[in-house]
């Protein structure tokens, strides 16, 4: 059980809350409190738009413990429009249609459950943009 760790990460997990550097404007995800570009303190919270594109991806067939029931699934490096690269599952997608450069948007989904009696852990995944077609 890692209830406290999941609780500490809830803002970044549910809503892609990272940080912005007041000194040079670089956006950080996950939040690190120090700017990766200029090394100045960066503690101002910033909620990412959740829009980005697939930078690279792979399909997982032999899933780690807790994820067996989800296999096969795709994990991608997503390049957010503000800059950072985020690793996340793709969802609501047919793996044959995934392409590098494909526009995606963040959704909050179930990541996994801690057994039958533990907590349900929610967090970000990305799916092909639906709002773009609205």
């Amino acid at each position: 059980m890692e209830v406290s760790r999941h609780w500490r990460l809830k803002e970044q997990r549910y809503s892609l809350v990272g940080e912005t550097c007041e000194h040079c404007g670089v956006k950080l995800f996950p939040p690190r409190d120090v700017c990766l570009a200029c090394e100045a303190p960066a503690k101002e919270l910033y909620t990412f738009t959740g829009l980005g594109e697939v930078y690279s991806y792979t399909t997982v067939y032999d899933a780690p413990a807790g994820f067996e029931h989800q296999a096969p699934y795709t994990v991608a490096l997503v390049k957010l429009e503000e800059g950072p690269l985020v690793t996340a599952q793709l969802t609501d997608v047919d793996k044959d249609t995934i392409q590098i450069g494909m526009p995606v948007e963040m959704v909050t989904r179930k990541l996994y459950t801690e057994g039958d009696e533990g907590t349900i852990v929610y967090g970000y995944k990305f799916r092909p943009s639906v709002s773009a077609t609205a």
């Binding site: 809830k10 803002e11 549910y14 809503s15 909620t47 029931h69 989800q70 599952q89 969802t91 609501d92 047919d94 959704v107 909050t108 989904r109 179930k110 990541l111 349900i120 929610y122 995944k125 639906v130 709002s131 077609t133 609205a134």
Partner: protein, 354 residues
């Protein structure tokens, strides 16, 4: 206290400030279920129903609908004073759905949060409570959600229709509304047409008892009472939405009350997505708001087994056209359709026990 004929109307005028829908992408055709249990013979109550994916539940679906409502409302989530989620498929038996949704949309910590239950009308109850919260001045905004991933016992009549989806309604002052609420009415009796006991995995129902004494008595009762209290006729409404357990019941209720197919068709989603339970009437309303024009009057009547109906009378404002394109439309979600077979459905709905 004045006699209002049972009409519930707040002192301070309120309305829907933002609305949002959500429907998962998966569909199982009713013929696929009939093939499994009936040899593919006989009629089916709808064309197909929506099914949530492996990583979706009432929390994730409520978050997406709430985000759509917030996009349309364009308000600061810190001004919300209530986040209420009505459902009969809350992921936890004990631990609120609503706090997770409130956290995800940035409404915490200065907000009320609660989960509501009343079979298929838990969402419209939350709307009525939100009207009271805003109408009394206790809150500027209150968010009410009806959302379900409904359970259907394999082989049961309800397996054809028990679906996943729903909607979120942000209630606020009438001056900011896309649709003003002229009043609401509730019609409730103890009628045992459908139930699920604690720890039972699937609900039970009274078969044909679910019709006349249950659905029709309450839906018609609530519709007639609200129209009587407001002095309206069916022809005064541009659109109407009645709870949709299948395709037949809402059509028949509409006909008995004197509504035309043209009035109910835009909000009649059950043939294509099934019965989204607590989400059913509310998502029908979102489909109507996606096309309605200023001045249009809308009647909606929910139904929850056990049993009761909540009716609402709305009038669309000029602001609707300004905000509706800010979020994904209901039809876009319904058109985003991936057909699955019965085997995949059993996996997605956790009916396979390993």
């Amino acid at each position: 206290m004045s006699d209002t004929n049972g009409l519930m109307k707040p002192d301070r005028p309120v309305g829907i400030v933002g609305y949002g829908a959500y429907v998962p992408r998966y569909r199982i055709p009713a013929t696929e279920i009939a093939k499994m249990w009936k040899g593919g013979e006989g009629g089916v109550p709808i064309k197909e129903k929506s099914v949530n994916g492996l990583d979706e539940d009432v929390v994730t679906m409520s978050i997406e609908a709430a985000r759509n409502a917030m996009l349309r409302a364009g308000i600061n989530p810190q001004e919300i004073r209530a986040v209420w989620v009505g459902s009969e498929s809350h992921p936890y038996a004990v631990k609120p759905t609503s706090t997770i949704v409130a956290e995800a949309i940035g409404a915490v910590p200065n907000t009320q949060a609660a989960d509501w239950e009343f079979a298929c009308k838990a969402g419209t109850e939350a709307m009525q409570a939100a009207i009271g919260f805003v109408g009394s001045g206790m809150a500027h905004y209150a968010l009410s959600i009806g959302m379900d991933t409904a359970q259907g016992r394999p082989g049961d009549a309800l397996e054809y229709t028990a679906a996943a989806g729903g909607a979120a309604m942000l209630i606020g002052p009438a001056a900011e509304a896309v649709a003003i609420i002229n009043g609401s009415y509730s019609f409730v009796t103890d009628t045992p047409d459908f139930w699920r006991r604690a720890k039972a995995q699937y609900p039970s129902h009274g078969d044909r008892f679910t019709g006349e004494p249950a659905y029709f008595a309450h839906v018609s009762g609530a519709a007639e009472m609200i129209m009587g209290a407001l002095g309206r006729q069916p022809s005064d409404y541009t659109w109407a939405v009645f709870h949709q357990p299948n395709a037949k019941f809402p059509r028949r209720a509409a006909q008995q009350l004197g509504f035309t197919p043209e009035q109910i068709n835009p909000g009649l989603l059950s043939p294509r997505i099934g019965n989204t339970y607590a989400g059913s009437t509310m998502i029908g309303l979102t489909a109507v708001l996606d096309i309605a024009q200023p001045g249009d009057r809308i009647l909606i009547v929910s139904y929850g087994s056990g049993a009761g109906s909540d009716a609402f009378d709305f009038e669309v404002t000029e602001r609707l056209a300004e905000v509706r394109d800010r979020a994904t439309k209901t039809e876009t979600y319904i058109s985003r359709r991936t057909e699955i077979d019965y085997a995949t459905y059993t996996r997605f709905r956790d009916k396979l026990k390993l």
